[in-house]
Structures are given as C-alpha cells and as structure tokens.
C-alpha cells in the first residue's frame, strides 16, 4: 500500500518537474556541465585551487542571500560562521585525526549552534542586526587571535592531507564538490524562496507589523533563515579549510563577512544566483586592481588592496539592485526568463476543513480591560462579548481608544488589567501569533497589504498559520505533504479572495489596487487564518457610498460562516447596514451599548460626538 502511494507521489513529482522544465533549465544544465569540465581543460591561466575557493565562497554567499535578500536582515557576520566551521573542522582533523567529511559536518553543526546562541539578534531592527552581526564577526576574529591554543597562533593550524568522498582531496576534487554544493544550495534556496517560508520571510521584510498580525512567527522564521545560512557557511568553511591546508585567523577577519555581504548586494539579493554572480564580480575587481595600480604608477604591490577597496566603494555608490536582476530584466525583453508563476489550479486534494466546534455560548469575552500609556488612560473597564455569527460595531470619536481596544483583544499590546477569553480559553497572556492560531484575527488600520506581493500571495501569508508542513526543510526537499499543502493553501486563499469578491484580481500586485480593494485583500488575508473572531479596523475608510452595499454583502457572507465580527468604524452608514449591536466608546470608556436604534437616540452618544453627524 505504502509502496503504491510512494510510486504515485514520485510519478506526480516527475510529471510536475517535466512540466516545469523549459529552456532555462537546459541552459542551467549546460552551464553546470561546462563549469564542471573546467579543471580538465588545463587552461594555462586558470588555477583550480583559487577557483575552488571562489566556489566555496559562492556557496556561503548563496545561503547568505536568503538571509539578506528574502528575510531582509543585513548580516555582517557570515564570515564568523565560516570561521567557526573552518576551525572546528581543522581542529578535529589536525588534532583528533578525524576524516574530512564528519569534521566538516561537525563544523557546520558548530556554526549552527553559534547561530542559535546568538539567534536573538534576528528579532531586532535591521540596523541593530547589522551592528550585532558586525560585533559577532569581530568577536570571533579577536577571540581566535587571542587564544592561540585554539587557533594555532599566527601560523595557524596545519590541516593535513585527507580524502574527500573517497578520492584524494586535490583542488580538482574540491572544485567539483564545491560546485555540487553550490547547485544543491541554489536549488534548496530557490525552493524555500518559492514556498511558504520564503513568502513569510518576504512578508516579514516588507511589513513586519502586518505579518505578525496575521500570525507569522517572526522570531522562528527569521531564526530558521539565520541558522540555515550559518549551517551552510560552516559547511563551506569546514571543507575549504582543508583545501587551504591551513586554518589561520588572519584569513577569517571581518573583511570576509563584508566581502560576502557585498557579493550579495552586487549580484542581487533578490535572485537566487545573484550572490554567486557577485562573488565572481568581486574576483574580477581583485584581478583588475593589480593592473590598475600599475597603470596609476603606484609603487609596490601594497596598494592593490587599497585600489580594490576604493573600486568597491565606487561600484557601491553607483547603486542599483544588483547584476542578476539587471541581466534578467534585459533578457526578459528578449523573451527569456519569463517569470514562471505556479499554476493556480485547485487540485482535488483540497478538502473542506471541518468547521471547528465552537461552544454554543460566547466566542469572545473580554472583561475589565485597561491600558494606560504613562499617565494617559487609553482604555478603561472595557468589557464586551461576542457570539458566533454576530457583528458588533465599536464607534466613537477620534482618540476614544478604539484601535487600542482592538490591540488589546488581539494581543499586540499587553493589558494592564482585565481578561480576554476566547471560547473557553483565557488568552490574556498569549502572544499575537498564538491568538491568531487560537482563532482571533485582525486587520490593521494603517498597513493593509504587503507592497510587493500580488493579492493571492498576500492572502497566502494569512494561510501560513494553518500550515503544518510549511517548514524550511520540508519546503526545500519538496516533500509530498508540503507540495500537497501548498496546492491546498492556494485553493483556500482563492476561496477567501472569492468571498470578498476579488477573485479576478488574484494575480494583480496590491500596489495596483484601489485603497478599498486593498482593505478587502487585508480582510481576505485575515479570513485565510480561519478565525472564529475577526477584528476589523476601518473597513470603510475611503470607500464611496455605492461600495457600501458591496461591503455589507461581504460582511454578511463572513457572518454566515459562523465568524463573529467586531468592526471599528467611522462610517456610520456601514454600521447601520451590518451591525447587530453597537458599542460607543468615548475617552476609553463604553458610554453606550445596544442595538443601532437604541444607541442612535442616546443623549450620551450625542454628547460624546459633540454634535457631530447623527446616526
């Protein structure tokens, strides 16, 4: 039975692969074959050991590309992980007589451990990430210099000859292994980029608050990227150190980390093969600096490094998004490299998820919530209840604490006092992503969509919280479960878009949509998290009168699914159209609660609005 299933899966995978195979794939295979043949061509100016080291560098840079490009974390510490991998491997080979392969693997694991220890930095703002990883690079380098017992002192650790994969570890063997590693890393990174982890990291990069409000776990995802790039760096370091025959601290100084970052930037952080191209460009700059220094008649070779550094500054000052994206755009004009979009066919593997059992009573119960900022009380003694399928509106003048109330309910802000109970669970201390997981989702007032995603991709981010097989490794290996879930997720995302009436614009970039359409996309994304309670902030902002009917229809459809809604609204006509109940908030307190008619006639409400428009 299991064998039959495996065969079906393999068959399906092969069919997918054959469908996706096109001319770019043939070009890639040809390029790889050509590259692999280079050491055997005995070209006179080619030095295989230098080439192999360059390819190892490209491997590290490619993995760094995921961290820097997709996740948006400017890491100046990649060289530190290479160093950790290199020295662990060198110590094991030289002092404990290990073979090379397990030593290199141990180096990769040591780098991974280091990444986990310092992994907290991924939760910081990008500027802090840059500064912290810079400090890490210096820490590792200074530490190696200061403790010659580990680093072998100024002469370094001598790494004796070893076998690599059964063959004598000559530069040629290292070159082929490095090339294979580069191909594997690139394939893995590309798969991760296209899959759920890549989408979530991109979302975290473009609009962190929005992604977090959709339940994306910022710390975990970014740490995954950080750890993965550290692992690959450590592996490359552990292998290349044997090729270099010596591990000395001077070669693993902060300049290495800098070179890797520049390679990513030059080649294009957004493209999988960008960093590798960047490494090649750096090599060319280094080669060019010698003759250039000679041409400028600078005495002695000591100016080579200075000229190279200055050339780099100029190239960076020119700006641009990198070489590979530039080249891809040029080639796109020629009709190559069309952006291949995954097919949007919903497979029959998608099943209707059973609606979760909701106790017949309250789905949301908040009691006595209070929040004060310094001396200013934003919300005080806020209590409300929601039953499934209900739509309640929270209205009030500006500054009355409506958005704060939503923040308290969703967990973006910790309450000073009070309780929030979801179904039968007390979620007062739960983090926002946990609450999303437990069924309470929210749209944001200011940021509605991710700037560089299409509507479908945007909604898919919301799907991420319900994925079980969306992890990095599963995606990289394209396991059957991951692939099946991806197809199912797309189906669910399309359903959510259809519910808000935007199925046709699934492929349109959100930047090209109108403001109200973007709010609907945000709503669809929140719906994709399969909430029991939906907190909607300013759905009707910027919407014309004729569209209100449409919005009311959308709300009705959501309610019919059993989801409870709490709408914060300024547009009182929409409130009248959709809500069963209205709560009026003024200066952080609920001053009136009841049906629309009851509240409309209330004096307190009129006072709160100070004679503003009537219901």
């Amino acid at each position: 039975m299991a064998a039959g299933r495996t065969r079906t899966e393999l068959g399906r995978a092969l069919a997918d692969a054959r469908a996706a195979w096109g001319s770019p794939a043939w070009v890639a295979v040809a390029a790889i074959a050509l590259a692999a043949a280079v050491p055997f061509l005995s070209l006179p100016w080619v030095r295989v050991d230098a080439l192999a080291q360059t390819v190892y560098l490209a491997v590290t840079a490619t993995a760094l590309g995921l961290l820097v490009g997709t996740a948006g974390l400017p890491s100046l510490g990649a060289g530190a992980f290479v160093a950790v991998g290199a020295f662990t491997s060198a110590l094991l080979v030289a002092r404990e007589d290990w073979p090379l392969e397990p030593a290199a693997l141990a180096g990769a694991l040591a780098a991974l451990a280091a990444a986990l220890v310092f992994g907290g930095v991924v939760r910081l703002r990008p500027a802090f990430v840059a500064a912290s990883t810079w400090a890490l690079a210096w820490l590792v380098w200074l530490g190696l210099l200061a403790f010659p017992s580990i680093s072998g002192g100024s002469q370094g650790l001598i790494v004796p000859d070893r076998n690599l994969l059964g063959l004598d570890a000559t530069p040629t063997v290292h070159f082929e292994v490095a090339l294979a590693l580069l191909v594997l890393t690139a394939l893995g990174i590309a798969a991760v980029r296209r899959g759920a982890p890549g989408l979530e990291l991109t979302a975290l990069r473009q609009a962190p608050p929005l992604a977090v409000s959709l339940g994306v776990r910022l710390g975990r995802r970014r740490l995954g990227a950080f750890a993965a790039s550290a692992f690959v760096a450590g592996l490359a370091g552990g292998l290349s150190v044997q090729l270099a025959a010596v591990a000395d601290p001077a070669s693993y100084d902060p300049f290495l980390s800098f070179k890797l970052l520049v390679a990513v930037l030059l080649g294009g952080a957004a493209a999988t093969l960008g960093p590798a191209a960047g490494v090649a460009v750096l090599g060319l700059i280094a080669l060019a600096s010698g003759p250039l220094a000679r041409a400028l008649q600078l005495p002695l070779e000591r100016f080579d490094a200075a000229v190279a550094a200055i050339l780099l500054v100029f190239v960076l000052a020119l700006g641009g998004g990198g070489i590979v994206p530039w080249a891809t755009r040029r080639l796109a004009h020629l009709g190559w490299f069309q952006r291949v979009r995954p097919s949007l066919q919903v497979t029959d593997c998608y099943k209707e998820e059973e609606r979760r059992e909701v106790p017949g009573g309250l789905v949301l119960h908040a009691q006595g919530l209070r929040k004060a900022y310094g001396g200013v009380v934003a919300v005080d003694a806020l209590s409300l209840e929601l039953v499934p399928g209900e739509a309640a509106a929270l209205v009030g003048p500006n500054g009355s604490g409506k958005t704060t109330a939503l923040r308290l309910l969703s967990g973006a802000v910790a309450a000073d006092a009070g309780q929030v109970v979801l179904g039968d669970r007390d979620v007062t201390t739960a983090t926002p992503s946990e609450r999303v997981r437990l069924g309470i989702a929210r749209t944001l007032q200011t940021v509605t969509t991710f700037p560089e995603l299409t509507a479908l991709e945007d909604v898919l981010v919301g799907r991420s919280v319900r994925r079980r097989y969306g992890g990095g490794i599963r995606t990289a290996l394209a396991t059957p479960n991951a692939r099946r879930e991806t197809a199912a997720s797309e189906g669910a995302a399309l359903e959510a878009l259809a519910l808000v009436g935007l199925r046709d614009v699934a492929d349109v970039e959100t930047q090209a949509l109108t403001t109200s359409e973007r709010r609907l996309v945000a709503l669809a994304a929140a719906l994709a998290t399969e909430p029991d309670v939906l907190l909607v902030d300013e759905l009707a902002a910027g919407v014309g009168a004729d569209e209100l009917e449409r919005l009311a229809e959308v709300v009705a459809r959501i309610r019919s699914g059993g989801i409870a809604l709490l709408l914060v609204e300024h547009n009182l006509r929409l409130v009248r159209l959709v809500s069963d109940r209205v709560l009026v908030l003024a200066a952080g307190h609920v001053v009136a609660e009841g049906s629309v008619e009851e509240v409309a006639g209330s004096d307190a409400v009129r006072q709160a609005y100070l004679g503003a428009q009537t219901l």
Binding site: R47, D49, A50, L145, A146, P148, G153, S154, Q155, G156, I158, A244, A245, V246, A247, D248, A250, S251, L300, E301, R302, D304, A305
Partner: protein, 402 residues
C-alpha cells in the same frame, strides 16, 4: 670535417649567442600587514639580484641566466602564503624567500617540487628542522638563540629578571623560548607577566614588577610595548636595566622617547652580529651599497650633537646572503633543476654581507647560530656592542649618524 662541425656545435652551445635564460626567485612577504619588514626583505634580495644581473647574469651549467624576482603578498596570513607558494611553484620558482609566515603549511608543498624555502625574518622555534623539513632554511636570529643568550648574559650578573612579554603573536612565541631558557634558574626569575600589546600606559604592571623584587626587566614584545615599559619605569624613577630581543632596536622606540634620550640609555637588545671577525669593512660596504640604492633609513631623531641618526640595514643582510648562497648552489649543481640544487645548498658556503661565512649543512639549516648573537646597548640614541660579553666586546661600533 666532422670534427670541425663538432667544434662549431660546441661553440654554438656556449651562451655567447643565445639570450640569457630566466631564473625565478619568489619573494613572499607581508606587503600588506607588515610593510616595513616586507620592504627590508625585498630590498635585501633585490640588492643581491641587481648586483648579480648587473654583472651579466649568473652562469649555470653552460648558460647564462638572469634572476627575476616575483613578489607575492602574504598579508601576514598563512593561508595566503599557501596560495602564493602554489603560484610560485607553478611559475617555476627555484627558491622562495619569505619572512616566515605560513612556513609550517607551505614547506610540504614546496617539498614536493624540491624547492627550498628561506626564512629571513621570523625566529620562531619549530619552523626549521633539517631532518623532517629538508627544504627549509633560515638566515635570521632565532628566538631560541636570543632567549638563551639573554639568559646566559643576565643570570651570571645575579640579576633577578622580570620576564615580561606582550600578547602579540611575537610576544607569545618568544615567551615560550624565554621560559625554557630560564627554566634551569628559577631563582633568577622575579616574576612573569603578560602585557597588553596596545597599551596606553603600563604603570600598573611595572609597579607590580618592581614590587616583585625584579632588578632587571626582559621585555619580549613589539616596539610599542618596549617603549611603554621604558616610559612607565623611568617615570616612576626606576632605572632598571631593560633587555630585549631585536625589536628593541626598532626606530619606533627612539621616536617615541625622542624627548628623553636618557630613558633610552641603558636599553640593551640582542640581535645577530652585523660584523664579523674580519672587521667592519664588509658590512660598511654593504651599508653604503644599500643606502646608495634605497636611501638611508632615517630614525627621525638626532643625537646630543644634533646629528641625524640612521638605522643600519641589519635585517636586509639576510635575504641578500641567501641569494648569494642560492646562486653558489646553482653554480655548483650546474643546473636550475631544484632537485639538483637542493642538496647543493647543504654543501656551499659564501661570504655574507658582514664578512662571515654563510652556509648550511645536512644537520644545520640555521644561517645565524647561537654564537652569532651579540648584545648592544643604547647611549645617546645610538647603540654599540656591550663590553661585558665575550663576543660583543670584540665587535666594533657601526656609525649611525650622518
């Protein structure tokens, strides 16, 4: 007829007609990282090469050759040294002159092609071993020799020595040799301390050394550390004699203490002898030749009579001497094939720049032996050999003022 043709052929074989061949000499030095050392080695080797080439080249076998110097920058990194060695070997280098960076890693590579490596700066122990590393030679004072001579010099005077070293690589290397040199006489050691190499002021450490009862200080470290030690000691009124390895002669110390020549007085350093039994003439000739080509190395201070002090080109002698030894070996081997040249390096001797005989043998690849280490003491910003050491008392003072 046939005999005539044979004579003709033999005549054509002579190099009068054909252009001189090329011998590649690789010089692998820290151009970036320690440019002054790199400059010294390059100049020393270059001086010898220019002299040989200027005389029409060298004759090896029955062909004339000119020596081409290929310069590589090892950035003070062992890994770069390995890369450079690979490049030098593929360029067909007949020998590699280096400051010593990366030799533990590069010697095996060079060994495969039987190419000799000559260390002309680094004196660290363990780099040279004729039995296991037959292609590694050194012409430079060794840390081991300097440490033992320092011990030999200070212990009989009854001094209690404070053994100080800084945390630079050089300091840490030397500390090991110093410790083993003084291991037989623990009573002569007042204290052992590690000093931070980049130090603003070492008063605390020197105070501690003084309190430990030291009557002399041995400072193995960078010139900046030695200067800081002198400053700290003299300002607290402690006129302790300070002994150092060759770094004590570095101009930096005199530049730093230019306002206090009396602080520099009494600083004693150990180094390789600049002159030989035959007198100062050969070295002076070498010095004037060096300064004519590269200019005098001004220290930047003046002595009490207002004359400019210059630094004699001591370390440039060593690569200069090696090139001459190498050429002698090439000539004796009659071939530029390294496999034939390497054994001859153990057989030849030449006259060094200072007039001494330079050469190696199967059991000794050190060009500067323990007995060649002398002591010099500073007075009035210039140094001269000390009178109370058997070797040093026989050596003349090299003029250092212009």
């Amino acid at each position: 007829m046939l005999a005539g043709l044979a004579v003709l052929a033999a005549g054509c074989g002579k190099s009068t007609g054909s252009p001189p061949g090329k011998i590649v000499l690789a010089v692998d030095v820290p151009v970036t990282g320690s440019p002054y050392v790199a400059q010294t080695i390059r100049n020393g080797a270059g001086l010898a090469v220019d002299r040989l080439n200027g005389g029409g080249g060298i004759t090896v076998g029955d062909r004339k050759y000119k020596i081409v110097v290929k310069l590589y920058d090892n950035h003070l990194s062992a890994r770069r040294a390995v890369e450079n060695t690979r490049r030098a070997l593929s360029a067909g280098a007949v020998a590699i002159v280096t400051d010593g960076t990366g030799v533990p890693a590069t010697w095996q590579l060079a060994r495969k092609d039987s190419v000799p490596i000559a260390i002309t700066y680094d004196g660290a122990t363990g780099l040279v071993d004729p039995d296991t590393r037959p292609n590694v030679f050194r012409i430079a004072p060794t840390n081991h020799a300097i440490a033992f001579r320092l011990a030999e010099y200070t212990i009989p005077k009854g001094l209690k020595v404070g053994l100080l070293h800084d945390d630079s690589a050089y300091g840490q290397e030397g500390a090991k040799d110093v410790d083993s040199a003084f291991s037989a006489n623990p009573k002569s050691v007042a204290t052992r301390m590690t000093l931070p190499a980049v130090a603003t002021d070492l008063s605390a450490q020197i105070l501690r050394a003084r309190r430990s009862g030291a009557t002399a200080l041995l400072v193995w470290g960078q010139p900046s550390t030695i200067a800081a030690v002198l400053t700290a000691a003299r300002t607290m009124g402690w006129n302790v004699p300070v002994f150092t390895p060759p770094t004590g002669a570095d101009p930096y110390i005199r530049q730093r203490l230019a306002d206090h020549p009396d602080w520099v007085d009494g600083l004693t350093f150990a180094s390789g002898r600049m002159t030989a039994e035959v007198g100062a003439a050969p070295f002076k000739a070498f010095q004037s030749q060096y300064e004519a080509t590269y200019g005098a190395d001004k220290v930047g201070v003046t002595n009490s009579k207002g004359k400019q002090v210059v630094q004699p080109p001591e370390f440039a002698m060593y690569p200069y001497d090696f090139v001459n030894v190498l050429v002698a070996a090439l000539t004796k081997a009659g071939s530029v094939d390294p496999h034939k040249v390497l054994p001859e390096l153990n057989q030849v001797t030449t006259q060094g720049a200072n007039g001494d005989e330079r050469g190696f043998n199967e059991h000794n690849h050190e060009g500067v032996v323990d007995d060649d280490i002398y002591f010099a003491r500073f007075h009035d910003m210039t140094y001269s050999p000390v009178p109370d050491d058997p070797l040093s008392s026989t050596l003349p003072t090299i003029p250092q003022t212009r």
